[in-house]
Protein backbone atom coordinates (compact mmCIF):
# COMPACT_ATOMS: atom_id res chain seq x y z
CA UNK A 1 0.00 0.00 0.00
CA UNK A 2 1.55 3.29 -1.05
CA UNK A 3 -0.81 6.03 0.12
CA UNK A 4 0.05 9.05 2.21
CA UNK A 5 -1.65 9.26 5.61
CA UNK A 6 -3.76 12.09 4.18
CA UNK A 7 -4.99 9.91 1.30
CA UNK A 8 -5.90 7.12 3.70
CA UNK A 9 -7.92 9.54 5.83
CA UNK A 10 -9.62 10.92 2.71
CA UNK A 11 -10.74 7.35 1.92
CA UNK A 12 -11.91 6.73 5.48
CA UNK A 13 -13.77 10.03 5.84
CA UNK A 14 -15.18 9.88 2.29
CA UNK A 15 -16.47 6.35 2.74
CA UNK A 16 -17.80 7.18 6.21
CA UNK A 17 -19.60 10.34 5.09
CA UNK A 18 -20.90 8.77 1.87
CA UNK A 19 -22.19 5.71 3.70
CA UNK A 20 -23.87 7.89 6.32
CA UNK A 21 -25.61 9.97 3.65
CA UNK A 22 -26.86 6.77 1.98
CA UNK A 23 -28.24 5.58 5.32
CA UNK A 24 -29.80 8.95 6.12
CA UNK A 25 -31.11 9.57 2.58
CA UNK A 26 -34.74 8.50 2.66
CA UNK A 27 -35.14 8.27 6.41
CA UNK A 28 -33.88 11.83 6.75
CA UNK A 29 -35.52 13.47 3.75
CA UNK A 30 -38.89 11.75 3.53
CA UNK A 31 -39.43 11.54 7.27
CA UNK A 32 -43.11 10.83 7.84
CA UNK A 33 -44.43 12.40 4.68
CA UNK A 34 -46.96 9.95 3.22
CA UNK A 35 -45.65 7.98 0.25
CA UNK A 36 -47.83 6.89 -2.67
CA UNK A 37 -49.19 3.38 -2.37
CA UNK A 38 -47.18 2.08 -5.34
CA UNK A 39 -43.93 3.20 -3.69
CA UNK A 40 -44.85 1.55 -0.40
CA UNK A 41 -45.78 -1.62 -2.29
CA UNK A 42 -42.27 -1.78 -3.72
CA UNK A 43 -40.57 -0.93 -0.42
CA UNK A 44 -42.36 -3.82 1.29
CA UNK A 45 -40.11 -6.15 -0.72
CA UNK A 46 -36.78 -4.41 -0.01
CA UNK A 47 -35.48 -6.99 2.45
CA UNK A 48 -36.45 -10.08 0.41
CA UNK A 49 -35.10 -8.35 -2.71
CA UNK A 50 -31.66 -7.41 -1.34
CA UNK A 51 -30.73 -10.13 1.17
CA UNK A 52 -31.13 -13.26 -1.01
CA UNK A 53 -29.04 -11.62 -3.74
CA UNK A 54 -26.46 -10.58 -1.17
CA UNK A 55 -25.91 -14.10 0.18
CA UNK A 56 -26.47 -16.32 -2.89
CA UNK A 57 -22.90 -15.83 -4.23
CA UNK A 58 -21.51 -16.33 -0.70
CA UNK A 59 -23.33 -19.68 -0.47
CA UNK A 60 -22.62 -21.00 -3.97
CA UNK A 61 -19.15 -19.57 -4.63
CA UNK A 62 -17.45 -18.82 -1.28
CA UNK A 63 -14.28 -16.73 -1.54
CA UNK A 64 -12.66 -18.88 1.14
CA UNK A 65 -12.61 -21.85 -1.26
CA UNK A 66 -11.54 -19.72 -4.20
CA UNK A 67 -15.08 -19.69 -5.56
CA UNK A 68 -15.48 -23.48 -5.70
CA UNK A 69 -18.76 -24.98 -4.46
CA UNK A 70 -18.29 -26.45 -1.03
CA UNK A 71 -20.43 -29.31 0.38
CA UNK A 72 -19.88 -28.08 3.95
CA UNK A 73 -21.24 -24.59 3.24
CA UNK A 74 -24.05 -25.82 0.95
CA UNK A 75 -25.11 -28.40 3.54
CA UNK A 76 -25.07 -25.82 6.32
CA UNK A 77 -27.18 -23.42 4.21
CA UNK A 78 -29.80 -26.11 3.48
CA UNK A 79 -29.82 -27.16 7.14
CA UNK A 80 -30.28 -23.52 8.20
CA UNK A 81 -33.32 -23.17 5.92
CA UNK A 82 -34.76 -26.44 7.28
CA UNK A 83 -34.18 -25.39 10.91
CA UNK A 84 -35.83 -22.03 10.21
CA UNK A 85 -38.94 -23.67 8.72
CA UNK A 86 -39.06 -26.15 11.60
CA UNK A 87 -38.40 -23.92 14.62
CA UNK A 88 -39.71 -20.57 13.27
CA UNK A 89 -37.22 -18.98 15.65
CA UNK A 90 -34.43 -16.74 14.38
CA UNK A 91 -32.04 -17.23 17.31
CA UNK A 92 -32.38 -21.03 17.34
CA UNK A 93 -31.86 -21.05 13.59
CA UNK A 94 -28.64 -19.05 13.78
CA UNK A 95 -27.13 -21.26 16.46
CA UNK A 96 -28.47 -24.44 14.80
CA UNK A 97 -27.04 -23.41 11.44
CA UNK A 98 -23.67 -22.60 13.01
CA UNK A 99 -23.67 -25.97 14.81
CA UNK A 100 -24.36 -27.84 11.54
CA UNK A 101 -21.66 -25.79 9.80
CA UNK A 102 -18.99 -26.75 12.32
CA UNK A 103 -20.23 -30.36 12.56
CA UNK A 104 -19.92 -30.73 8.79
CA UNK A 105 -16.59 -28.89 8.77
CA UNK A 106 -14.99 -31.24 11.28
CA UNK A 107 -17.00 -34.29 10.12
CA UNK A 108 -16.30 -33.97 6.39
CA UNK A 109 -13.05 -32.04 6.64
Amino acid sequence: MSYSALQIWVIILGLGLGTYLLRFSFLGIIGNRPLPEWVLRHLRYTAVAVMPGLITPLILFPQATGGAMDPVRLGAALATIAISLWTRNVTLTIFGGAAVLFALHFGLG
Binding site: Y3, A5, Y20, F24, V50, P62
Partner: protein, 237 residues
Protein backbone atom coordinates in the same frame (compact mmCIF):
# COMPACT_ATOMS: atom_id res chain seq x y z
CA UNK B 1 -50.20 11.71 23.54
CA UNK B 2 -50.60 8.22 24.91
CA UNK B 3 -47.52 6.94 26.67
CA UNK B 4 -46.44 3.51 25.50
CA UNK B 5 -43.88 1.54 27.42
CA UNK B 6 -40.78 1.09 25.28
CA UNK B 7 -38.75 -1.00 27.71
CA UNK B 8 -40.02 -4.45 26.61
CA UNK B 9 -39.36 -3.52 22.97
CA UNK B 10 -35.83 -2.40 23.78
CA UNK B 11 -35.13 -5.64 25.67
CA UNK B 12 -36.64 -7.76 22.88
CA UNK B 13 -34.35 -5.95 20.47
CA UNK B 14 -31.30 -6.66 22.63
CA UNK B 15 -32.25 -10.34 22.81
CA UNK B 16 -32.76 -10.57 19.04
CA UNK B 17 -29.49 -8.72 18.39
CA UNK B 18 -27.36 -11.04 20.54
CA UNK B 19 -27.00 -13.94 18.07
CA UNK B 20 -25.35 -11.53 15.59
CA UNK B 21 -22.34 -11.82 17.88
CA UNK B 22 -21.50 -14.94 15.84
CA UNK B 23 -21.04 -12.77 12.75
CA UNK B 24 -19.88 -9.45 14.10
CA UNK B 25 -17.14 -10.67 16.43
CA UNK B 26 -15.16 -12.77 13.95
CA UNK B 27 -15.61 -10.28 11.11
CA UNK B 28 -14.62 -7.28 13.16
CA UNK B 29 -11.56 -9.17 14.37
CA UNK B 30 -10.63 -10.31 10.86
CA UNK B 31 -10.98 -6.74 9.57
CA UNK B 32 -8.73 -5.50 12.36
CA UNK B 33 -6.09 -8.13 11.59
CA UNK B 34 -6.19 -7.75 7.81
CA UNK B 35 -6.23 -3.94 7.89
CA UNK B 36 -3.30 -3.84 10.29
CA UNK B 37 -1.34 -6.31 8.19
CA UNK B 38 -2.10 -4.18 5.12
CA UNK B 39 -0.33 -1.29 6.81
CA UNK B 40 -3.05 0.83 8.48
CA UNK B 41 -2.32 2.13 11.97
CA UNK B 42 -4.71 1.61 14.87
CA UNK B 43 -6.34 5.04 14.51
CA UNK B 44 -7.05 4.40 10.81
CA UNK B 45 -8.45 0.93 11.48
CA UNK B 46 -10.74 2.30 14.19
CA UNK B 47 -11.61 5.26 11.93
CA UNK B 48 -13.01 2.79 9.40
CA UNK B 49 -14.89 0.88 12.04
CA UNK B 50 -16.43 3.93 13.79
CA UNK B 51 -17.22 5.99 10.71
CA UNK B 52 -18.22 3.33 8.19
CA UNK B 53 -19.64 0.39 10.25
CA UNK B 54 -20.18 -1.67 7.12
CA UNK B 55 -18.02 -4.78 6.96
CA UNK B 56 -18.44 -5.61 3.28
CA UNK B 57 -17.60 -2.08 2.09
CA UNK B 58 -14.64 -1.87 4.47
CA UNK B 59 -13.20 -5.09 3.06
CA UNK B 60 -13.74 -3.88 -0.51
CA UNK B 61 -11.99 -0.58 0.27
CA UNK B 62 -9.13 -2.41 1.97
CA UNK B 63 -8.73 -4.87 -0.90
CA UNK B 64 -8.53 -2.02 -3.42
CA UNK B 65 -6.10 -0.11 -1.21
CA UNK B 66 -3.84 -3.15 -1.10
CA UNK B 67 -3.91 -3.04 -4.91
CA UNK B 68 -3.07 0.70 -4.78
CA UNK B 69 -6.16 1.75 -6.72
CA UNK B 70 -6.68 5.52 -7.13
CA UNK B 71 -8.45 7.14 -4.17
CA UNK B 72 -11.56 8.01 -6.18
CA UNK B 73 -11.87 4.45 -7.49
CA UNK B 74 -11.56 3.05 -3.96
CA UNK B 75 -14.35 5.39 -2.84
CA UNK B 76 -16.61 4.66 -5.81
CA UNK B 77 -16.30 0.89 -5.50
CA UNK B 78 -16.81 0.74 -1.74
CA UNK B 79 -19.71 3.22 -1.80
CA UNK B 80 -21.38 1.16 -4.54
CA UNK B 81 -21.33 -1.80 -2.15
CA UNK B 82 -23.23 0.37 0.33
CA UNK B 83 -25.90 1.68 -2.05
CA UNK B 84 -28.26 -0.94 -0.63
CA UNK B 85 -28.28 1.17 2.58
CA UNK B 86 -30.38 3.76 0.71
CA UNK B 87 -32.91 1.02 -0.03
CA UNK B 88 -32.98 0.07 3.66
CA UNK B 89 -33.41 3.74 4.54
CA UNK B 90 -36.41 4.01 2.23
CA UNK B 91 -37.95 0.80 3.59
CA UNK B 92 -37.62 2.05 7.19
CA UNK B 93 -39.04 5.52 6.47
CA UNK B 94 -42.70 4.41 6.70
CA UNK B 95 -41.93 2.89 10.14
CA UNK B 96 -39.50 5.37 11.72
CA UNK B 97 -39.99 8.51 9.61
CA UNK B 98 -42.13 10.13 12.30
CA UNK B 99 -39.21 10.44 14.71
CA UNK B 100 -37.48 13.76 15.38
CA UNK B 101 -34.66 14.80 13.05
CA UNK B 102 -32.02 14.01 15.68
CA UNK B 103 -33.40 10.54 16.32
CA UNK B 104 -33.56 9.77 12.61
CA UNK B 105 -29.94 10.89 12.41
CA UNK B 106 -28.96 8.43 15.16
CA UNK B 107 -31.00 5.56 13.63
CA UNK B 108 -29.26 6.25 10.31
CA UNK B 109 -25.83 5.88 11.90
CA UNK B 110 -26.88 2.49 13.33
CA UNK B 111 -28.47 1.23 10.09
CA UNK B 112 -26.69 -1.99 9.09
CA UNK B 113 -27.72 -5.22 7.37
CA UNK B 114 -28.32 -6.81 10.77
CA UNK B 115 -30.28 -4.01 12.43
CA UNK B 116 -32.36 -3.47 9.29
CA UNK B 117 -33.21 -7.13 8.73
CA UNK B 118 -34.11 -7.77 12.38
CA UNK B 119 -36.20 -4.57 12.63
CA UNK B 120 -38.13 -5.00 9.39
CA UNK B 121 -38.94 -8.63 10.29
CA UNK B 122 -40.28 -7.44 13.63
CA UNK B 123 -42.26 -4.49 12.21
CA UNK B 124 -43.95 -6.72 9.64
CA UNK B 125 -44.62 -9.71 11.85
CA UNK B 126 -45.62 -8.54 15.31
CA UNK B 127 -48.76 -6.66 16.25
CA UNK B 128 -48.58 -2.99 15.29
CA UNK B 129 -46.31 -1.06 17.66
CA UNK B 130 -46.19 2.65 18.42
CA UNK B 131 -43.49 4.78 16.82
CA UNK B 132 -41.31 4.95 19.92
CA UNK B 133 -41.64 1.24 20.53
CA UNK B 134 -40.36 0.62 17.02
CA UNK B 135 -37.43 2.93 17.71
CA UNK B 136 -36.73 1.18 21.02
CA UNK B 137 -36.64 -2.20 19.29
CA UNK B 138 -34.21 -0.90 16.66
CA UNK B 139 -31.92 0.59 19.32
CA UNK B 140 -32.15 -2.70 21.23
CA UNK B 141 -30.89 -4.69 18.24
CA UNK B 142 -28.06 -2.20 17.74
CA UNK B 143 -26.99 -2.37 21.40
CA UNK B 144 -25.16 -5.71 21.23
CA UNK B 145 -24.24 -5.35 17.54
CA UNK B 146 -22.43 -2.02 17.19
CA UNK B 147 -20.21 -2.06 20.33
CA UNK B 148 -19.15 -5.65 19.52
CA UNK B 149 -18.12 -4.47 16.06
CA UNK B 150 -15.91 -1.73 17.59
CA UNK B 151 -14.41 -4.03 20.22
CA UNK B 152 -13.77 -6.94 17.86
CA UNK B 153 -12.04 -4.70 15.32
CA UNK B 154 -9.91 -3.17 18.05
CA UNK B 155 -9.03 -6.64 19.40
CA UNK B 156 -8.06 -7.83 15.92
CA UNK B 157 -5.92 -4.76 15.27
CA UNK B 158 -4.28 -4.62 18.69
CA UNK B 159 -3.91 -8.30 19.55
CA UNK B 160 -3.60 -9.96 16.15
CA UNK B 161 -5.40 -13.04 14.95
CA UNK B 162 -6.53 -15.56 17.52
CA UNK B 163 -8.88 -17.20 15.03
CA UNK B 164 -7.44 -20.48 13.77
CA UNK B 165 -7.08 -20.36 9.98
CA UNK B 166 -9.30 -22.68 7.94
CA UNK B 167 -12.43 -22.30 10.07
CA UNK B 168 -15.47 -21.51 7.88
CA UNK B 169 -16.31 -18.30 9.77
CA UNK B 170 -17.06 -16.49 6.50
CA UNK B 171 -20.27 -18.51 6.49
CA UNK B 172 -21.69 -16.87 9.62
CA UNK B 173 -23.04 -14.12 7.34
CA UNK B 174 -25.20 -16.33 5.07
CA UNK B 175 -26.47 -18.29 8.09
CA UNK B 176 -27.69 -15.26 9.99
CA UNK B 177 -29.29 -13.76 6.90
CA UNK B 178 -30.99 -17.06 5.98
CA UNK B 179 -32.41 -17.16 9.51
CA UNK B 180 -33.87 -13.67 8.94
CA UNK B 181 -35.04 -14.12 5.34
CA UNK B 182 -36.90 -17.45 5.56
CA UNK B 183 -39.52 -16.09 8.01
CA UNK B 184 -40.08 -13.13 5.65
CA UNK B 185 -41.30 -15.44 2.87
CA UNK B 186 -44.90 -15.25 4.00
CA UNK B 187 -46.66 -14.69 0.69
CA UNK B 188 -46.23 -15.74 -2.92
CA UNK B 189 -45.10 -12.18 -3.69
CA UNK B 190 -42.25 -12.40 -1.14
CA UNK B 191 -41.18 -15.80 -2.52
CA UNK B 192 -41.15 -14.48 -6.09
CA UNK B 193 -39.15 -11.40 -5.06
CA UNK B 194 -36.55 -13.63 -3.37
CA UNK B 195 -36.32 -15.96 -6.40
CA UNK B 196 -35.92 -13.04 -8.82
CA UNK B 197 -33.19 -11.63 -6.56
CA UNK B 198 -31.29 -14.94 -6.60
CA UNK B 199 -31.62 -15.59 -10.34
CA UNK B 200 -30.82 -12.00 -11.34
CA UNK B 201 -27.78 -11.69 -9.09
CA UNK B 202 -26.33 -14.86 -10.67
CA UNK B 203 -27.17 -13.69 -14.20
CA UNK B 204 -25.62 -10.25 -13.55
CA UNK B 205 -22.54 -11.50 -11.71
CA UNK B 206 -20.31 -10.17 -14.51
CA UNK B 207 -21.08 -6.53 -13.63
CA UNK B 208 -18.42 -4.66 -11.61
CA UNK B 209 -18.78 -2.83 -8.27
CA UNK B 210 -21.69 -4.95 -6.99
CA UNK B 211 -23.97 -3.31 -9.55
CA UNK B 212 -25.47 -6.74 -10.25
CA UNK B 213 -26.86 -6.87 -6.71
CA UNK B 214 -28.48 -3.43 -7.02
CA UNK B 215 -30.14 -4.22 -10.35
CA UNK B 216 -31.21 -7.64 -9.05
CA UNK B 217 -32.72 -5.99 -5.96
CA UNK B 218 -34.65 -3.45 -8.05
CA UNK B 219 -35.98 -6.21 -10.35
CA UNK B 220 -36.96 -8.27 -7.31
CA UNK B 221 -38.81 -5.35 -5.69
CA UNK B 222 -40.72 -4.78 -8.93
CA UNK B 223 -41.52 -8.50 -9.20
CA UNK B 224 -42.78 -8.63 -5.60
CA UNK B 225 -44.88 -5.48 -5.94
CA UNK B 226 -46.34 -6.59 -9.28
CA UNK B 227 -47.26 -10.03 -7.88
CA UNK B 228 -48.95 -8.36 -4.92
CA UNK B 229 -50.89 -6.02 -7.22
CA UNK B 230 -52.10 -8.86 -9.46
CA UNK B 231 -53.12 -11.03 -6.53
CA UNK B 232 -55.05 -8.16 -4.99
CA UNK B 233 -56.76 -7.53 -8.32
CA UNK B 234 -57.68 -11.22 -8.58
CA UNK B 235 -59.00 -11.36 -5.04
CA UNK B 236 -61.19 -8.31 -5.64
CA UNK B 237 -64.66 -9.22 -6.91
Amino acid sequence: MTQHSTRPDYLNGCRDGLPFFLVIAPFGAVFGVVATEAGLDLAQVMGFTFLVIAGAAQFVALQMMVENAPVLIVLAASLAVNLRMAMYSAALAPHLGGLSFGRRAVISYLLTDQTFAAAILRYEQSAPRALHQKMAYFLGVATPVVPVWYLATWAGAALGSAIPPGLPIDFAVPITFLALIVPMLRTLAHVIAALVSIIAVLALAFLPFNLGLLIAALLAMIAGAETERRMAAQAAP
